[in-house]
Assembly symmetry: C2
Homo-oligomer: 215 residues x 2
């Protein structure tokens, strides 16, 4: 008894595409958006450390400003929802402690019992700052993958986007003051009927080209 | 008519966890593995450029060597499958051209018609080498997210792992000679009945803590 059958998964992974034109009149309904939110909250991350925040922008004025900082791409204003994936800058021992405190709280265990785990996690922050920031940014991309896949399983469109100016996004959303930086964004909603990109064949290398079996 | 209902998605995202102990006797069956392979092949990436290869290691001797380069973690030998996510090193104009050629082939269009798209993609490779490599590594994390989620939807366990020595992995698998580098790995299979980690409550920050609505 599989939770989701193989055919459904492969069909939806083929169905999804980076939506270029959204139907601005269609909004994601609340129960579906709650599921997409949960996919962000529940996303895996290294050591479970969740070095991220997600900014969900629905304010039209802010969206218009962000569009100006994203090569004027229409998805930024026309999609139902816009998620800015922000990674922690300078993730440090205090962030590890915050996670340890949360773990003790959720699991009802003592801080002492988490000491070995904590010391292992502190290894992450003992690396040079640039490496730690790169690590945090990578984690945000796991959340992006989780979000895009969840949308596909729900039959909701999405478009991941790297074409934007992080510095301007940080400024507009006040992210730097909070200790975060925008690393990637995703717009989500429903494709416009006349988005020609929806009809194009998906371009992927063959399995043989990207998968090497060491057997 | 949703492809997958909300409850199933949220339940499976809660069901999954970073499996610490696999049942070494249980193997992922071929139809399920094919679906997991497809999740790698079909994973989104920036511009669809797929700057990656996936090395699926089932050879027990190679797995034993890799375990030695991964802090002796048991998942590396005991899981049904091991995937090494490798990012392209020095992704360059020739890689863009390869993708353009593939696009022309799959869509049956002329190379000339793809000229504007190609020039946009060449923007990716015009950045400093370290930035391009960091970009490629991030894409591999989208594929990781896609893989982990697909496994969860199928009710198959997995464990993403950053705790390994990339240089040794590259050496053992001959990745550097191929122009790739190991960035993250995932083991997949079925949890051992006595993996105590399966029973622990999942630790996540609250929605309010990680999601900020700009509305």
């Amino acid at each position: 008894m599989k939770p989701v059958n193989n055919e459904t998964i492969v069909r939806q992974l083929n169905w999804r595409y980076a939506t270029k034109k959204f139907d601005a009149s269609r909004k994601i309904q609340t129960p579906d958006w709650k599921t997409l939110e949960q996919s962000l909250v529940l996303s895996p991350s290294s050591g479970g450390l969740q070095p991220w925040k997600f900014f969900v922008v629905t304010d039209p004025e802010v969206r218009a400003k962000l569009r100006g900082a994203a090569y004027n791409q229409s998805q930024v204003t026309d999609a139902s929802h816009l998620v800015v994936f922000a990674a922690r800058v300078g993730f440090a021992a205090a962030d590890v402690q915050r996670h340890i405190d949360r773990t003790a709280d959720v699991r009802g265990v003592t801080l002492e019992s988490l000491e070995a785990y904590k010391n292992m996690m502190l290894g992450v922050v003992s690396r040079p700052a640039a490496q730690v920031d790169a690590w945090a940014a990578r984690q945000a991309y796991i959340a992006l993958g989780t979000f895009l896949n969840t949308a596909a399983m729900l039959g909701i469109d999405a478009c991941p986007m790297e074409g934007f100016d992080p510095a301007q996004f940080n400024e507009i959303l006040g992210l730097d003051k909070k200790g975060y930086t925008a690393v990637v964004i995703a717009t989500s909603g429903y494709r416009a009927e006349d988005d020609g990109y929806a009809k194009l064949a998906k371009v992927r290398y063959s399995s043989e080209d990207v998968i090497t079996n060491v057997a």
